[in-house]
Symmetry: C2
Subunit: 184 residues, 2 copies
C-alpha cells in the first residue's frame, strides 16, 4: 500500500485523471515515486471502491472521454494516518551499482559507456527538475518561497530528486574515469 498514498498525496493539490497521474509517476519525471500507467488505473479502481476518491465522467468531443478523480474525506483521513505512520527507510537498488561491483567480470569499456549514458540521463533530469523548481518559485528566492509559497511539498520533493541526480552524475563521471584509468 504505497502507490495508494502517492496517488492520494498527488490529489491533495489538484484533481486529476488516471492519465495525468500516470504522467506524474512516470519514471522520467517523478522525484518521489514511479510506476507504470497500468498500476495507476488499477489502484484508482481500488481507491474508488474503497470510497477514498471520487471520479466524475467528463465527456469530450475530440478526445476520448475521461474521468477526473478528486480526494474524498475518507481518502484525506487515510492520508493523514499515513503521514503519521512509521516510515520505512529508502535504499538504493540499482543495476548499475551491481555492474560496477562486478566490473572485473567483463570488458570494462562497455561499462564505461553505460556510465556515460547514465550521466547524460542525470544531466537531463537535473535540467527538468531545475525547470520545475523555477516555475514553482517564480521570481522569489528559494528562502522566500519555502517560507511562504504554495505547493511546497512538490518543491521540497523536487529538490531531493535534483540532488539525487546530481550525485548520480558526479559518481558516474568519477567511476567512468577511475575504471578507464585502470585499463592503463
Amino acid at each position: 500500500m504505497a502507490l495508494r498514498h502517492a496517488i492520494l498525496a498527488t490529489l491533495l493539490d489538484r484533481e486529476a485523471t488516471g492519465y495525468q497521474l500516470a504522467k506524474a509517476f512516470d519514471p522520467e519525471v517523478s522525484a518521489y515515486w514511479h510506476c507504470t500507467p497500468q498500476q495507476v488505473y488499477l489502484e484508482l479502481a481500488r481507491l474508488e471502491v474503497a470510497g477514498m476518491i471520487i471520479g466524475r465522467q467528463v465527456v469530450q468531443q475530440r478526445r476520448p472521454n475521461k474521468r477526473i478523480f478528486s480526494l474524498a474525506p475518507a481518502g484525506r483521513d487515510e492520508l493523514a494516518r499515513f503521514v503519521l505512520s512509521e516510515t520505512k527507510p529508502s535504499f538504493i537498488r540499482d543495476d548499475l551499482l551491481v555492474k560496477v561491483l562486478a566490473f572485473e567480470a567483463a570488458d570494462p569499456r562497455g561499462l564505461v559507456d553505460q556510465l556515460h549514458q547514465r550521466a547524460a540521463l542525470a544531466r537531463q533530469r537535473i535540467a527538468e527538475f531545475d525547470e520545475l523548481l523555477g516555475q514553482l518559485r517564480g521570481s522569489r528566492s528559494e528562502s522566500e518561497y519555502v517560507a511562504a509559497g504554495e505547493q511546497i511539498g512538490r518543491y521540497l520533493t523536487a529538490v531531493r530528486g535534483r540532488s539525487f541526480e546530481q550525485e548520480n552524475l558526479n559518481w558516474c563521471v568519477w567511476v567512468a574515469q577511475v575504471i578507464a584509468a585502470r585499463q592503463t
Copy 2:
C-alpha cells in the same frame, strides 16, 4: 532477475554462505542492493540448480551446519553478459518523500519527528560507510587506492551509498527546518 546478479557479483570477490549474503543485502548495510534473507535462500537454490554456483556443505561442531557457495563458470559467464546488458535507470521511491508531499494533510510535528529520525539513521549509515571505506583504503589515499587497489567495486559502490545518505541527511535537516518554520 536482479537479485540473481547481485549475488553472483558478490561471489566474485569471495565465496559465502546464504547467511553472509543475506547480511550483505541487509538494508542497513548494503549500498547497492537489499532484500530479505528468505529471498537470498530462494535465489541461491535456483542458482545452484542452474549450475551458476556450487555449494559445499561444511559440518560445524557448535553451530548449525552451513553451505558455502562459490561462483561456477556458468555464473561468471552470466555475470559478464549482465554487465554488458542494457541498464535500467534507478529512481528514488520513498515513503518519506510522499509524506512530505502530503505534509499539509496532517499534524506537521509528527512529520518533523520522522525527518529527524531519518536524519539520525543517515548519520549512522554514513559512519558505517566511512568505516568500510577506511578499511578498504588502509593507509592509502583515495586516489592511490582507486588507481591500484583491490576490491575496487566494493569501494566505488560504498562511495555512492555514502553520498546517498549524505544527501538524505542534508535534505531531512533542511525540510524539517522549513516545515517547522512555516508553523510559526
